[in-house]
Amino acid sequence: MVVHLIRLRFIQVYRGLANVGLLRVVFLAVVILPLVTLFLVQRISVHPWPYIIPGSVLYITWLVHGRRRDYHFLAAIFFRPRVLFLWEYLLFTLPVTTLLLSEALYIHAIVFTAAIIIIAFSVPSRNLVNSRTVKLRIIPAGMFEWQSGIRKNLVVLVLFYIPGLFGFFHIWLSGVSLLFLTLFFVSFYSEYEPRNMLIAGGSGSWQLLIGKVARHTGLFAMFLMPIIFTALVHEEFRWLTAGYFLASLNLLVFSILLKYYQYRPGAYSGAHQMLTTLACIISIILPAALFFALFNLFLIAGATRNLKTYFDAGN
């Protein structure tokens, strides 16, 4: 059964790639994949990357695991779904484990594998929103991504926000807090609303996009402001702090635009999750963040075009 399901996973990936288009697949295989591999191989032994790379992969795995919709389906037809999850995660994170082992980072590899096992054996909860509902009246009614995302991740958000407020003690506290908060907020856009919610505002595709980007980025900027102010105490990092603040806002814009670029009613996108996380990690090298700022210009045209399909669907 496990083998059958893993085989199905590969078939899914293969057929999914066929939808991406031949040119883009070639571009991914010839340019992006070697570049990412090169980047990982070069960085894995340089502090603090042995923590950042496996940490980010664990973070993605945890997010994907928490949003799995197939747990109940598998539990109904297959009696050990968590064993299947474990095999899946071990297989898909094998490049990172291999990388750690090749650099003789044995403790990292063991901790990484242990964390994968813990994630795989935890139950992804469908009812998380029901059981941890909090009052979120401060967030405007239209920002359902935030309301849903904050409900699901409230504890973790608080856990990363509070250290950020103590950034005047050490700039690293601000940095880590900013990175993880950005990772969380960009992940809110991986679940796509149904079409009736999309068109409920009565505006056009362009107005929806611009309005959403402005509202969400504005509120995100206000939310980050206390952390940024405490970080600005460190005069020598002032420009860096401003740069990372702008990069965070830019990543949120990237996440919103990417969502609508590949929007399909009511879908969940694992690809969105991975791409936005990857963008966050790459943006740690600040000049690379500029690339995403330029890429947003391309995305906004594509997202408007894609949304127009759904706005015009009833005409």
Partner: protein
């Protein structure tokens, strides 16, 4: 007997199933009706083990009910993207003696070599049913199985359920449409506020509709009339 005793299931402070006790004879078809939020799906999810019970017991033939004893059709079905109907059905382990997928599909008439992503919602429902029924378990639980099915297949499903009963399978079905249950069920149970309000056998289905709607809150009906 499938015996549920003093079952309590809570979401926060609210008891969705509130001390429910019922004994369901095996090898028969049971219909479970109730308004939205009455607790039907929660009861089924608890029987399957997807929702944790606060207290109480669920026993089948004297032993605690296990997930391996039953097959379950959820209200909303999950399908992996980019796989075909045939690959989906291949996930369901069928016992010895069950016809192969193609022969099984003669009942369902699904384009098994097409991607499920291209199926209509009714076809997806049929596919999920085809998988669940292929498992041939002692207990089959179907949550709103008639949702999204065309008339022809609704009739066919009624026949399939009758055949399951003949083979000695216990079937539990929920539905909002009472008419779809009276023709196939041996017993119908009304669930209200997390409790079984009453149960009727086939011989007493005549006044079922009257009994179910008798207790509807008149103030609520007046409110609807006012607003509409």
């Amino acid at each position: 007997m499938l015996a549920i005793e003093n079952l309590i299931v809570s979401y926060g402070d609210h008891n969705v199933i509130d001390g429910l006790t019922i004994s369901l004879p095996l090898k028969s078809v049971h219909g479970l009706v109730g308004m939205n939020g009455a607790g039907k799906t929660t009861l089924l999810n608890t029987m399957v083990g997807f929702t944790r019970k606060a207290s109480g017991s669920i026993m089948m033939a004297g032993a605690s009910l296990k997930r391996a004893d039953l097959s379950f059709l959820e209200t909303e079905n999950f399908f992996y993207s980019h796989i075909t109907g045939r690959e989906y059905l291949g996930l369901f382990k069928a016992p010895q003696g069950i016809p192969g997928i193609d022969e099984w599909n003669r009942m369902f008439r699904l384009p098994l070599d097409h991607l499920i992503d291209n199926y209509s919602s009714g076809m997806k429902r049929k596919l999920a049913l085809a998988g669940v029924l292929r498992q041939e378990k002692e207990l089959v639980i179907l949550d709103e199985p008639f949702n999204g099915l065309d008339l022809e297949f609704s009739r066919l499903l009624s026949m399939i359920i009758a055949r399951l009963k003949e083979r000695g399978t216990t079937v539990i079905i929920t539905s909002h449409i009472l008419g779809s249950l009276t023709g196939i069920c041996d017993h119908i149970h009304l669930l209200r506020n997390g409790k079984i309000q009453f149960s009727r056998d086939r011989d007493n289905f005549m006044d079922l509709e009257k009994d179910i709607f008798r207790d509807l809150d008149p103030a609520y009906m007046t409110l609807v009339e006012e607003i509409m």
